[in-house]
Every structure is written in structure tokens, then in C-alpha cells.
Symmetry: C2
Subunit: 240 residues, 2 copies
């Protein structure tokens, strides 16, 4: 099956969580808005959201075409793909747990986004800088340690290699890796301060980065660099 991923072509954004899963599994996929040429691909994406077809239009990207299915919402896409890509164990309890973790990561991601956009997505960062400074401070003091501490506690309780679900790498491991990469890009100073309290989280990230297919992806032109149009943005004034 050749999957078609629809996402904005110039940012990692939420699409990156899906890309990492597809890449880790060596899946056959097209990143439509990037590979078809930006104009054509983005147009195809918008048509699927806004046109009269399909019957079940997505609210927003990313979405995935898999045969006759068109699936939106990052966690929903990953839940669909994971059993097909060998990125989640078979047992129902493990799948519920994996999805629960993915949804917790999604909650965390919104809070990260809102550090630079606390007032509205429609406004520039420059139009909400004082509010962003307050929100980022609150995030770095309370929320970042809380989320990071939660995942550290989970991984510290695993007797063997640090993995969130079962003994093999699963999709929440890949997503946690991306969260930490993004946080290190956006808030390098805060992440340095929190590193001594997060050894298991950082060990998991090192291991994910060393997976041959992931390492190859990260070094390839398919990997969009972090940039200040994405969810993770580096504004030094928000990371004092």
C-alpha cells in the first residue's frame, strides 16, 4: 500500500509525527504537498478539505489517504498506521496505553504551540509578544517539568531499555523523541536545566535517533529543518 500524506510543505508541524512513523517502518508513502510541487500539492490538499468531495472532509491537516480511507487527526492516523507498520504491540491494553500516551503528547504539543501564540493563531507572534512572554514563563516553570517528569517516571519504571509501550520501539517513542528534539530547539536553556532530571527520556531519544532508518531520514532532504513557522520556535526572549 502506498500511503499519501497531506500536510503543509514548509514546516514539520503535526505532520512530522506521521512522517517519523512512516520512515521508521520504511513504508511506501508520498508527502503530497512536497513531492508534487508545492502549488499543486497544497491545492490538492485544500480541495480535499474544502471541496464537495470527500464525504468526510478533514477539519485540518495532517491527513492520510490509505486506499479508500481518508484519515485525519495525528493521533488517529498513528493509531491506524501503527499495527500495519509494526509500531505497537498486539494486545488491546498496550494499544489503549499507546494511544493514551499519544493523546497526552498531543495535549503537551498544544501548550508548546501556545507559548508563542497565546492569543490567536491568526495573529503574528509579534502581535502577542507580552502575552507570549507570560505564557512561556508559566509553561517553563510548571507545565514543562510536569510533562517531562511524567514521561521520565514512566521510563524510569521500565526494567529494560527505555520504551513507553512494550519492549520494542512504538509510535509514542517516536513522538516523544520528536517532542524532545523540538523542545531542545525551542527552549535550549530550559531543556539544559531539566536534563539532569530526565536521564531516561534523553536515553530514549538517543536510541530513537540511532535507529538506522530514523538516522537516515534525519540526514535526508525529506527532513524539514526546524524553523520559526512551525510549532517549535526558538525565540530567545521566551527562554531566558
Amino acid at each position: 500500500m502506498r500511503y499519501e500524506l497531506f500536510y503543509w510543505p514548509s514546516i514539520q508541524g503535526r505532520g512530522e509525527f506521521v512522517r517519523l512513523a512512516l520512515e521508521a517502518a520504511g513504508a511506501d508513502y508520498v508527502d503530497v504537498a512536497r513531492e508534487r510541487g508545492r502549488g499543486l500539492g497544497v491545492e490538492a490538499m485544500l480541495r480535499l478539505m474544502e471541496g464537495p468531495e470527500p464525504q468526510r472532509p478533514p477539519f485540518a491537516p495532517p491527513f492520510l489517504r490509505a486506499g479508500r480511507l481518508l484519515i485525519a487527526q495525528t493521533a488517529n492516523i498513528l493509531q491506524y498506521l501503527a499495527p500495519r507498520l509494526g509500531l505497537v504491540p498486539k494486545a488491546e491494553a498496550a494499544r489503549l496505553w499507546a494511544h493514551q500516551l499519544q493523546l497526552t503528547l498531543a495535549d503537551w504539543l498544544v501548550e508548546i504551540h501556545d507559548t508563542h501564540h497565546p492569543i490567536g493563531k491568526s495573529l503574528y507572534y509579534e502581535d502577542q509578544k507580552p502575552e507570549a512572554a507570560r505564557r512561556a514563563q508559566n509553561f517553563l516553570e510548571l507545565r514543562l517539568p510536569k510533562f517531562l517528569g511524567y514521561f521520565e517516571r514512566l521510563l524510569a519504571a521500565v526494567p529494560a531499555e527505555p520504551r513507553l509501550v512494550g519492549p520494542e520501539c512504538s509510535y509514542p517513542d517516536l513522538s516523544l523523541f520528536h517532542m524532545i528534539e523540538g523542545l531542545r530547539y525551542a527552549f535550549p536553556r530550559a531543556m539544559l536545566r531539566l536534563a539532569p532530571a530526565s536521564p531516561h527520556v534523553l536515553a530514549l531519544c538517543d536510541q530513537v535517533a540511532a535507529i538506522p532508518r530514523i538516522a537516515a531520514y534525519l540526514a535526508s532532504p525529506r527532513r524539514i529543518p526546524f524553523n520559526d513557522g512551525g510549532i517549535f520556535r526558538h525565540y530567545p526572549e521566551l527562554d531566558p
Copy 2:
């Protein structure tokens, strides 16, 4: 199976989406933090989150105990319950669609919460009033019409009764009902302005409210009234 729901006892919050599903199906459940007496129930809930057991602790309420499973994240709980409670069709495509909609409602809910808490959950509304005014204005102008318009468009395309997934009432229908109820409580003036553009959404809400088990629940003491500790809060200054 007797389900145990764990959620804060004094607000509807995210727990309400689970309660509505359980109530619509006439399921056997205990609302632990409310029925065991607040102190004891909340203590049991916090112990499950913070204690050494379980092996897979939730990050936050709500969570559900179903036999040996402990399941967190509202959409994950609903996805687990729905097939067991007859609140989603059998086909995979319909289940993916239902979950996709539920996750879109969850995104919308965060934006509603953040109209009164744009800076931080740890602060009082009174500590972030100017920021809340800006965020609420942006929400009412852009985001509320966008989300509402999306669901209106979906329901307007259904030839028969307004239902989001298949011909019967499904869990996203119940959740959309609650979103609209909450929005009418929090932003009565804005919702009145948007009513003429949302006939199918409002028709679905009327039909959900008239389901005998839902009507009985809404009239019962099990239904916590909307209040200003919850996600949907009525601050008149945010709804000019």
C-alpha cells in the same frame, strides 16, 4: 461490567463527555469521586495517578476502570466504550471517522478553555483578564464560526436525521451536544448571533436532549450544573 469513572467531583469538565456516553447507553457505572464522598473518592483518584500503582498511570483525569484496564484521555475512553455501548457503527471507516471527529471536538474544547485561561491553568482568571479578553475576541470572531461551520456543513450534507456518524446516535453526536450546551452557557450572545447559520447543529442538539435517557440524566442530580470552575465559564465581559 460495572465501570468506574474517575473525575473531579465539582465540575462537568472532560468527564462529562464520558458521563453522557454512559448515561445514553444506560450503562452500569460509578462516578467514584462523587459517590464515595468527595474526600475518599478524590483521594482514590489521586492515588491512581501519583502512587506506585498502577503500572500505567494516567497523566490527568478523567480515567475509567473497566475490569483490569485503566484507561485515560477522554477520546480514548470513548473509543473504548463506544462499541461496547452501541454508540458507534461496526465498520472501520465509521470508527475512524467518529474518532477523528471526537479529536476535533477535543481541539475545539482546548480553545474554549483557553478563552478564560490564555496564560496558565495555574493562575486565576482574575490574573489574566486582559489576555482573556483578547483571546476570547479572537475566538469568537474566527475560531468559533470556523468550528461551528465545519460541523454545520457535515450535518447539512446528511440526507436524513442530523447525525455525525451513521444513522444512529453516536458518541460524537453526544459530545457535540455538550459542546453546544456549554457554548450557549459561556457565550450566549455570540451563540445567538450564530444560531441562524447553524440550524442542523441545533437540530441535532435538540434531538440529543430529547433522548429519554439523556433527558432523564439532565434532570437528575447526577448532572452537575455548569459553573465557573469548569471549562465552559460565563464571564459576560468575554461575550460582549
